[in-house]
Symmetry: C2
Subunit: 311 residues, 2 copies
């Protein structure tokens, strides 16, 4: 597949756009390939068969330049990767799989959409999902919209935000703050153009540029009946929940780690399920209370950052 | 449902955003209501059951201020209506219904997102579909992304772009150019602030501001085996295909009418199916040839405008 010259600073022509759509069609052909009879890019709408019977899971996320990503820190491929993973992460949080995705890109003239699509395709392959359609437009600023489509294996109920009970133990699937720390270090003055050794720990840089949706963790949590949480929370975030290289503020307020926060009445069963699935042990960060909306941290008030309202 | 004060020119606060999400949750509660057991706004992902068994139909469209809509001509409600209808129109073009939708809005500070959502909700109710999720972000320019989710009733194959055969008659489901003529007249110097009688024919203004997806036409066409077209086309666009008040150039190049273009080997059967469904008669605009990609208009070359590449 030859990539169209989408880095030209000139306004994109109709011919360029036709070449780009052809590139996307081939780039998103798989793997994974579509099921026989399903329709991907090329018709007015896609027609797909999710992997599992039952309800269709849908989640959509925006990635906006200057709000969610900084082109000085993330390459076009990184931005594409992240846009796909953020949407898939919402399915992971329900304990579901992603099977298909739609990608829309509103981009300024000359923005290398094909390179962004390469990152989307890499992330989709990593998640086992296929990009089956989308839309392109010009725009003064880069806005990427990804819709992830999936389904849930087995009969266990989906992980719900309203399922946690007072007394449940709250855990997180990995140490927090890696993305925020990575952004801080990547954006620091010593990084660009030094030609020398990159001072940013690769794990932090990767956590920021290429976050990974916790699909296996969501599946394991769903099998043992954990829940996402919408009750009151007494947080006691210990050192084990703060990523190496991240500050405590970054861990509490960074918000872009895409680790799952889970509530469970049986943390030992959850830990056993994670171990059986070859996953890192969940990290305890607090307890659910019977005061919905009331959050404390080490007994005091919680900082406001990082609490993103979604609908 | 009290609408949050989203027209404030100041930067939106966390509290504003919480109120907005609450407003959206109530505004999109239906009708139509979700099926029992389905999950709409409030969890990380939606879980929905499409209306009909078989493949899940997916389409997504971007509406970008300054590219697809002009706020001097379209209200926030109009923009929301159009964003929903454009995505649903892609399902109509396959002969499918829309049952659910996702709405993402990247908006500048002070943009009345709640009013845009009102238009989305009106359009969704008109299409029989429910908004089950979405995302919100700040952005220097308004970008609206809607994903429509649906399914197709009955066993007839989906309308495909590659299904047309040479010799098929090409029809369109309504006269063309209404949206372009409406935009021209609404944007004209005599319109804003005159206080007098609106000089724009209401049908043209409505066609531009509130286009309607041709769902019933798509269903009827699918039942009789019409097809969308990807073969060569010999167009002979007569006066009956040009909307009253629109120029021929607007009919040929306007591109935002959302009328369906259908190819059929049996135009009489198609006309009979439309009549039986209470729809306007399809309008002949040409014939399919065996020269893929070759388009002629009245024997000559076709103007380039209005051919939008999608993937």
């Amino acid at each position: 597949v030859r990539r169209p010259n989408s880095e030209s600073p000139a306004e994109r022509t109709d011919e360029d756009e036709f070449a780009l759509v052809e590139y996307l069609r081939e780039r998103f052909a798989g793997p994974p390939a579509l099921a026989p009879g399903d329709l991907g890019i090329g018709d007015d709408a896609a027609a797909v068969t999710p992997a599992h019977p039952g309800p269709v899971l849908l989640a959509t996320d925006l990635v906006v330049e200057g709000v969610h990503v900084d082109r000085a820190v993330s390459s076009p491929e990184d931005i594409g990767w992240k846009a796909l993973m953020v949407a898939v992460s919402d399915l992971a949080a329900m304990g579901a799989d992603a099977s298909h995705a739609l990608l829309s890109v509103a981009a300024p003239p000359g923005f290398p959409v094909a390179r962004l699509a390469d990152g989307v395709a890499e992330a989709a392959a990593a998640c086992g999902c296929t990009v089956v359609g989308g839309d392109l437009s010009g725009s003064p600023v880069l806005v990427v919209s990804v819709t992830a489509v999936g389904s849930a294996p087995g009969d266990a109920p989906l992980l719900r935000r309203d399922g946690a009970r007072p007394g449940d133990v709250l855990v997180v699937t990995g140490p927090l703050g890696r993305s925020a720390a990575g952004m801080r270090l990547l954006g620091g003055p010593s990084t660009p153009g030094t030609g020398g050794e990159d001072p940013v720990p690769p794990e932090l840089a990767t956590a920021h540029r290429r976050p990974v949706a916790r699909l296996a963790e969501g599946r394991a949590a769903r099998r043992v009946g954990a829940e996402a949480s919408d009750v009151g929370l007494e947080l006691t975030v210990g050192e084990d929940a703060v990523a190496a290289g991240a500050t405590r503020d970054e861990a509490l307020g960074g918000g872009e780690d895409y680790e799952l926060v889970l509530a469970t009445g049986d943390p030992d069963a959850l830990a056993a399920a994670f171990a059986a699935a070859g996953l890192r042990p969940p990290i305890r960060i607090g307890t659910c209370t019977d005061h919905p909306g009331a959050f404390t941290l080490d007994g005091g008030p919680l900082p406001q950052e990082g609490w993103r309202h979604r609908f």
